[in-house]
Homo-oligomer: 279 residues x 2
Amino acid sequence: MFPKEPDRNKSFRALINGIAADSVNIQDRGLHYGDGLFETIAIRNGQPLLWDQHMQRLCHGCERLRLPVPDVNLLRQEAESLCTGVTRAVLKILLTRGSGGRGYKAPVQPKPTRVVMRYSWPVYPEMNQTEGVAIRLCSTRLGHNTQLAGIKHLNRLEQVLARNEWDDPAIAEGLMLDHDGGVIEGTMSNVFIVENETLITPELSQCGVQGILRDHVLEIAEKLTIKCSVNTVSLAQVKSAQELFLTNSIIGVWPVRKFAEVNYTVGRITKNIIDKLES
Amino acid sequence: MFPKEPDRNKSFRALINGIAADSVNIQDRGLHYGDGLFETIAIRNGQPLLWDQHMQRLCHGCERLRLPVPDVNLLRQEAESLCTGVTRAVLKILLTRGSGGRGYKAPVQPKPTRVVMRYSWPVYPEMNQTEGVAIRLCSTRLGHNTQLAGIKHLNRLEQVLARNEWDDPAIAEGLMLDHDGGVIEGTMSNVFIVENETLITPELSQCGVQGILRDHVLEIAEKLTIKCSVNTVSLAQVKSAQELFLTNSIIGVWPVRKFAEVNYTVGRITKNIIDKLES
């Protein structure tokens, strides 16, 4: 009898610049300054979902940080090589400016570090999607920076601080405000409200991450002829919303059933979007 | 004849959790989120300068990020073991929350990664200190975050973006403003002005790094009975200042001789502080 093959859906694996490895150079600027970007991608039946959109955001982030744009075809090959035969997994791509001397000045010709990682698919309760989740308000605020807003860079201490404000496993996510008190996003998700039959998601020109699933949901809503708006969103608007839901590439759509003292039901627009997303 | 010993003042060396190594685990939260802190310390004749102050800031940063406080004696042993017989070097200590699964939530019992690195001493022109440096204004602004202000955390993209706004080696540093337009610091240094015989440095409750040499200069100034103030500083105040200088643990004090179109001379208070610092 052959030894049992390791469960390809469970074990962590990484390629660094195309080579199987489990560590990066201690002088990498990703570690020293968070000088880089990442993408978190859902894998289904060996294939990455919304790949083009993820690569577009990654390349846009490279332009913002003046990082050399990666070879997207190579990334795809590496992603597929890690995920062949895998039913469900999370693929994380991490791109840094590579190793540089001490100091913020970037090397004239940076040699980026390209990391492709496969993680096991997280197990969330089924009812998160069917009945919705309970969420809270975080006290950690998002600072403004137009150069960093929208992109998925490696400076994530605000999210780490916010996510560690609570331990209660019954609370699935925390909403974050910016310094003006506007609602921006969850610690790991984007947020949508329904108000007067209009789907609204916060605009992210000053801070926040422009989620791939956020944009995808906006496209779906348009196809469903749901009126959409990308705008400032206040806490009062969230509390009085007809519907409230969260999105990210891994969770998909989670309706919110409770935020602070307010209860919500899984509404028609939310349901339509979930149905369309899964079709 | 024995082979020539490698120049201990030049080669890079690192200890990771006490063991000589040159790479960190690919899942380290320092790399993924910038979830950690660092210190940059001057070494002279094998000994770290202002060690207690650096350790105080590091431990204060740990409290802010809720990181386990490191064993300071162990760090000192590791620092000395790297620097024995070294005339001048830069010691960099980097502390992260260690490896964690995917996601912002910190492990319940994190195992921090402790990195102690020795770099060669940078060669700056002698005249930087005697005649002063030319500096510029950066367009990259510092975002506000009271939880992260002051501490030397690993989220340094703002500094990376700011430092990469210019290539001209004749420009030694760039000043950074916050979102309210106040002067906060240089990309790698703190800033001081002299106005009406008073030494003023920007207050850092919203953003910026509370430099060890900044605090040391304030102490020196007090001993020299120079009137000091930690306050908001406007660009207009910098431009009309009698004296202007920069500080950090490696450069010490650099007077500024030119900022934008304004010329400055190395003034009496700046000179007194440099003299006292070197005595």
